[in-house]
C-alpha cells in the first residue's frame, strides 16, 4: 500500500472541526496585559502618567533587557535595535510604549485608556522615496540616510550587452503595503512554574525554538528555563515567524510576577502593529534583441522596511530576495540590480508569503507583456522565446535551477484556456462595451533551501536544516518529533504518509509532534515553503533508519535474511512465504527482548536524522481572465487557470489547498488589500472594513493542472509549494487588467489595482486624449 500520493483526509481535522483545537487565547491566566501604543509616528517620549495603584510597565522598568538586534554581515547592513517597549523615542504609530497588567482583559483595557503618554512629536516619514530625499527626517541615527542595507550586483559585460539592445523597455512600478492578516491575531501566554523556575511561553509563532533563543538572548537567562509552545496556530503566512517584542515583555512579566500573564492582540493592533510587507517601489528595464529575446535586465528596488529590522531574517529579506530572484524563469545572463532597504516611521516589515517574489514576478511579467506589445507579438510567444528550457541552469545570480517545466506548464495552461476562442470573445465583447482581458504569469518558486542559501545572505542567525526523531514505542505506535512548526499546512498528515510507506503501518498509527521546545528537537519552524522538503526529507531518512532496524529485528525473529524481509500492512513478512510477524510485536521486542539480539542490535526503536538540502525550484503558470467595468473600475475574475509543478506530490488534496489559498491571497494583493498611512503617519486602515482580505465572492473557482517533475535536490522528490499561489496571482491579474484596458491606452503598474486606481488611470487617459 502506497500512502504517498494519496489524497487521504487530514489527521489534523477531527479536533479542529469539533471545537477541540487549542489556541493560545484559549488559556486562562491570572494577569492580563494591554499594551499602550504610540498614537504618533515619531517623537520623544517625555512622560508616562499612570492611574494610582495600577501596574504599568515601561522601558525604564525593563532593566538589563537587551534590544532585539538581528544582524546581517553583508550588504552594508546597519544593525538597529528594537526595544521591547519604546525607549526614549517612538518610531511608528502603534509601537508599544507601556504594558498595563490587570486581573482581566477588560480591566487592563480600562486602565490603558487612562494612561497618559506625553510625546514631543517630531516630523516623520512613512514613504520610502521621501525617506531617501536629503533632509528627510531620520529614523535611526545609525542609518543617517535611512538606508539600512544596500544590495548591488552587476554582471561582467553588462554595459556592452546593454548597448547592443534592439529595444529597451522601462517602467516604474509600485507595490503597496500589505498585512498578512492571519485570522487568528497574535497572542501570548507566559506562565511561571515556582517549583522549577521555568517559564512556559505559549504563543502564536511559526518558529518556537527560535523564539526561545531570541527571548533568552534579550532577557539573558538559560534556554533550558524557557519552554515555548506553539499550540494550534491560526495561520501565520510569515507574520508569525518574526519575533513580537510583546512576547519578550510577557516572559519578563511572568518571571517578575512569578505567575501567569496573557495578551491577545485585537484586530486593530494586528493591522497597525503586527508587521507589514510588500511596500516597494521598483524600476525595471529590460534590454531585448531584435527577436524579442531578453538579453539584459536592470532593476532598482526600494523596499520600505519600516521602523525596525525583524528578527531573525532581518529586514534584508525583502530587498535581498528581490535582487536574488528577480530574473525568475527567464534565460537572461546579464543583470544589474540595486536593492535598498529603507527605514521609515512605519510598522516594521516582516516576511509575508512569497516575500518579494509576488512583487518581482509582477514586475517581470509586466515587462514581458510590455515587450510583447512593443514587438507586436503575442504575450505567449514572448514567453516561449525567453523561458529557460535546459536544466540544470545557472542564473545570473549564481542560483542553480534544478529540473523544471516552465515551458510545459505555459503550454498546458494555454491549452486549457483555448486562447484563440477567448480572443474572439474578447473582440465581440469589446464591440458591446464589455472589457475582458487575459493575463499570463510564469514563474519559479525557490523552495526548500537549507543553510547554504541563508548563509549567502550573511545572516548572523543562519536557519536551514531540520531534525526529525522517529520512534516506535513498545505498543507499536509511532511518534515523529519535528522541528518544523506547521499551522494549517497539514504536515502531520503528509509526514505520516511518508513514514507509513517506510515502516509499513497506517498513518493513523503515526503521531507527529511539533510546536513544543520540550518535546521537539531544535528546528527552524515552518516558513519559506520549506517544511515538506526539509522536514519531510529528515523524516524520510529517520523513517528509513527505523525501517532498517525493524528489518534487522524481524530477521532475527523470523530467522530469515534481512533482504528477504518486507514491511507492509502492519506486518514484517518473509518474501515468498507465509511467515509473518506483527510490527507491533517487533516494536515490543526491541525494548523487552533485547537479550535475544546478542548485542547485535541496540535497544529501543528511536532514530534521528538531519537534512539540509541546497534548495529546489517549483514552477507554475497562472492565467487570469478578468472583466473590467470601465465605468466603476471594478474587476471581476471570470476564470483562473493554474498549471503547476511542485515535484512529487505527497497528498494532492493538501497540495491543491495550498495553491487555492495562495491564489486567494494573491488576488487580495492584486485588487483589494492596502495598508494606508495618512500624511502624519497615522493608519487609515485599522479595521477589516478598511483593509480588505477577499471573501468567497472575489475568489473564482480555480482550475488546477499538474506536472510532477521530481527534484534531484529533495530526497522525497517533493518541491515546496506553499507560496506559489501568492507569487503568480498578482502578475496574472494585473496583466489581465492591462489586456482588458489596452484599447484605452492605459497601463496599471501598481498593486492593488483598486477601482479608484483604475478609474483614475482611465480618466487621465481620457484627459490626455482630449488635449
Amino acid at each position: 500500500m502506497n500512502w504517498v500520493g494519496r489524497a487521504i483526509r487530514r489527521l489534523e481535522d477531527p479536533t479542529l472541526i469539533t471545537g477541540q483545537g487549542r489556541f493560545t487565547s484559549d488559556l486562562p491566566a491570572v494577569h492580563w496585559v494591554r499594551f499602550v501604543r504610540s498614537p504618533v509616528a515619531a517623537g520623544k517620549l517625555r512622560k508616562i502618567t499612570t492611574p494610582k495603584g495600577a501596574m504599568v510597565v515601561a522601558a525604564t522598568d525593563l532593566i538589563g533587557v537587551k534590544k532585539i538586534t538581528p544582524i546581517l554581515h553583508k550588504f552594508n547592513y546597519k544593525p538597529v535595535g528594537q526595544p521591547a517597549l519604546a525607549d526614549g523615542m517612538v518610531r511608528f504609530t502603534g509601537e508599544p510604549v507601556a504594558a498595563v497588567v490587570a486581573a482581566s482583559k477588560e480591566e487592563a483595557e480600562d486602565i490603558a485608556d487612562q494612561v497618559e503618554v506625553s510625546i514631543e512629536e517630531m516630523s516623520s516619514v512613512t514613504d520610502a522615496r521621501a525617506a531617501l530625499e536629503p533632509g528627510s527626517p531620520q529614523v535611526h541615527t545609525e542609518a543617517s540616510d535611512n538606508v539600512i542595507l544596500e544590495g548591488k550586483v552587476k554582471t561582467p559585460d553588462f554595459d556592452a550587452v546593454w548597448k547592443n539592445a534592439d529595444k529597451i523597455i522601462a517602467f516604474d512600478a509600485r507595490s503597496r503595503r500589505q498585512n498578512a492578516t492571519p485570522m487568528e491575531p497574535r497572542g501570548a501566554h507566559a506562565s511561571y512554574d515556582a517549583s522549577t523556575g521555568r517559564v512556559t511561553l505559549t504563543c502564536t509563532t511559526q518558529m518556537p525554538h527560535l523564539t526561545r533563543t531570541a527571548i533568552c538572548d534579550v532577557l539573558a537567562f538559560p534556554e533550558s528555563d524557557l519552554r515555548v509552545i506553539a499550540p494550534d496556530v491560526g495561520g501565520g503566512f510569515g507574520q508569525k515567524m518574526s519575533l513580537a517584542s510583546e512576547y519578550v515583555v510577557l516572559v519578563w512579566l511572568a518571571r517578575k510576577l512569578k505567575s501567569s500573564v496573557a495578551w491577545t492582540e485585537d484586530r486593530r493592533e494586528n493591522l497597525i502593529a503586527a508587521f507589514h510587507s510588500r511596500d516597494q517601489y521598483a524600476r525595471l528595464e529590460g534590454a531585448f534583441d531584435k527577436n524579442a529575446k531578453l538579453i539584459a535586465l536592470r532593476s532598482d528596488i526600494v523596499a520600505n522596511v519600516g521602523a525596525y529590522s525583524c528578527f531573525p531574517t532581518t529586514c534584508g529579506v525583502e530587498p535581498l530576495m528581490a535582487m536574488a530572484e528577480l530574473p525568475g524563469p527567464y534565460d537572461v545572463q546579464h543583470y544589474a540590480c540595486l536593492a535598498r532597504g529603507v527605514i521609515t516611521n512605519t510598522c516594521p516589515m516582516a516576511p509575508y508569503r512569497g516575500v518579494s517574489r509576488p512583487v518581482v514576478t509582477f514586475l517581470l511579467e509586466r515587462l514581458m507583456d510590455k515587450a510583447a506589445r512593443a514587438f507586436a507579438i503575442d504575450p505567449i510567444e514572448i514567453r516561449r522565446r525567453n523561458l529557460i528550457d535546459k536544466f540544470p541552469y545557472k542564473s545570473a545570480m549564481g542560483l542553480e535551477y534544478d529540473d523544471a517545466t516552465y515551458k510545459e506548464t505555459l503550454e498546458m495552461a494555454v491549452n486549457a484556456i483555448d486562447v484563440r476562442a477567448f480572443r474572439e470573445r474578447q473582440k465581440d465583447s469589446r464591440a458591446k462595451g464589455r472589457h475582458l482581458g487575459i493575463g499570463f504569469a510564469t514563474f519559479s518558486e525557490r523552495t526548500g533551501y537549507g543553510s547554504s542559501a541563508f548563509a549567502a545572505r550573511g545572516m548572523d542567525i543562519t536557519p536551514g536544516w531540520e531534525t526529525v526523531i522517529v520512534s516506535v514505542d513498545p505498543s507499536g505506535f509511532v511518534e515523529a518529533r519535528i522541528g518544523s512548526s506547521p499551522h494549517g499546512q497539514g504536515l502531520r498528515t503528509t509526514l505520516a504518509q511518508i513514514i507509513a510507506d517506510e515502516i509499513g503501518v497506517t498513518p493513523e498509527m503515526i503521531k507527529v509532534v511539533h510546536g513544543d521546545t520540550d518535546r521537539a528537537p531544535y528546528g527552524w519552524g515552518t516558513f519559506a515553503s520549506r517544511s515538506l522538503v526539509i522536514c519531510g526529507g529528515a523524516t524520510l531518512i529517520a523513517a528509513r533508519k527505523v525501517r532498517a532496524k525493524l528489518i534487522k529485528i524481524a530477521s532475527h525473529m523470523l530467522e530469515a535474511a534481512p533482504d528477504d524481509i518486507v514491511l507492509g500492512d502492519g506486518l514484517a513478512k518473509v518474501a515468498g512465504t507465509d511467515r509473518t510477524i506483527a510490527i507491533t510485536k517487533l516494536a515490543r521486542e526491541a525494548y523487552t527482548q533485547t537479550y535475544r539480539f546478542k548485542g547485535e542490535i541496540e535497544p529501543g526503536l528511536t532514530e534521528t536524522a538531519h537534512y539540509d538540502p541546497p534548495g529546489t525550484f517549483s514552477n507554475a503558470c497562472h492565467v487570469a481572465i478578468v472583466e473590467v467595468n470601465v465605468e466603476t473600475g471594478h474587476v471581476k475574475i471570470e476564470r483562473f487557470v493554474v498549471a503547476e509543478d511542485a515535484g512529487r506530490i505527497i497528498n494532492p488534496m493538501i497540495a491543491d489547498g495550498q495553491v487555492h489559498g495562495g491564489i486567494a491571497q494573491g488576488i487580495g494583493n492584486a485588487l483589494l488589500e492596502e495598508i494606508i498611512y495618512d500624511d502624519n503617519g497615522g493608519i487609515l486602515t485599522a479595521t477589516l472594513s478598511d483593509y480588505l482580505p477577499p471573501t468567497a465572492h472575489e475568489i473564482p473557482m480555480i482550475e488546477l493542472h499538474h506536472i510532477e517533475t521530481p527534484s534531484p535536490n529533495s530526497i522525497t522528490k517533493a518541491k515546496g509549494l506553499g507560496e506559489g499561489g501568492c507569487i503568480g496571482a498578482p502578475a496574472a491579474v494585473l496583466n489581465a487588467i492591462n489586456d482588458a484596458l489596452s484599447p484605452f491606452g492605459v497601463e496599471i503598474d501598481e498593486i492593488p489595482a483598486t477601482p479608484q486606481r483604475i478609474r483614475t488611470a482611465l480618466r487621465n487617459a481620457e484627459a490626455q486624449n482630449e488635449r
Binding site: L16, G21, M183, G234, R267, H487, G657, H660
Partner: protein
C-alpha cells in the same frame, strides 16, 4: 461598568448561570465564563465571522451581541454540532473536501452554514455564495469551503 447581572446562557442544551458586566460580549461570555473555547474571536467588529454561533436558530456574530441579550436564549456552538461520536454532515463534509487548513475560522463557517441551511434547506448556489461571503477565511481560498457546504446541504436534505 461594574454592575454585574446574573444571566443564564443555554449552550448546547446545558444551562450556564453566570454573572457578567453589561458590556460583556456573548463571544467572551461563551469562551471565558462558560469555558467553550471552540468559538473563536477574529476581529471583534463583526467582519470576519469567526465567532458565529446560532442563537434561537439564527446565525449570529457573537462579538456583536452582548451576553445579557442572549439571556434565556438557546445558543448552539461548534462543540454541540456532533451527536456524540457522530459528526454533523457539515463537519464531515469539511473534512472530506479539505474545507479547513489552520482551523481558526472553521467553527464560525460551520455554524454559519448549518444555521442558514437549517432555515433554508433549498437555498440556491448563488444565495449560498452570498451567505458564505459573510465570513473570512485566509487559508483555503474558499473553493473547498463552498464545495463542502454544497455537499453537506445535500446530505442535510436527505436527513
Amino acid at each position: 461598568m461594574n454592575d454585574r447581572s446574573g444571566i443564564t446562557l443555554t449552550i448546547n442544551g446545558r444551562d450556564h448561570a453566570i454573572t457578567v458586566e453589561p458590556r460583556r460580549t456573548l463571544a467572551d461570555a461563551i469562551r471565558e465564563d462558560c469555558g467553550q473555547t471552540g468559538t473563536h474571536i477574529g476581529c471583534e467588529h463583526g467582519i470576519c465571522g469567526a465567532c458565529t454561533v446560532i442563537v434561537d436558530g439564527e446565525p449570529v456574530r457573537s462579538c456583536l451581541m452582548f451576553a445579557v441579550q442572549a439571556n434565556g436564549k438557546r445558543i448552539r456552538t461548534v462543540e454541540g454540532l456532533a451527536n456524540g461520536d457522530k459528526l454533523h454532515p457539515m463537519q464531515q463534509a469539511f473534512m472530506d473536501h479539505h474545507g479547513l487548513q489552520c482551523g481558526f475560522c472553521t467553527p464560525g463557517f460551520l455554524m454559519l452554514a448549518v444555521g442558514v441551511l437549517e432555515r433554508e434547506p433549498d437555498i440556491s448556489d448563488e444565495d449560498l455564495l452570498d451567505v458564505l461571503s459573510s465570513n473570512l477565511c485566509r487559508c483555503t481560498g474558499y473553493q473547498n469551503i463552498i464545495k463542502a457546504v454544497r455537499a453537506a446541504a445535500k446530505d442535510m436534505r436527505k436527513g
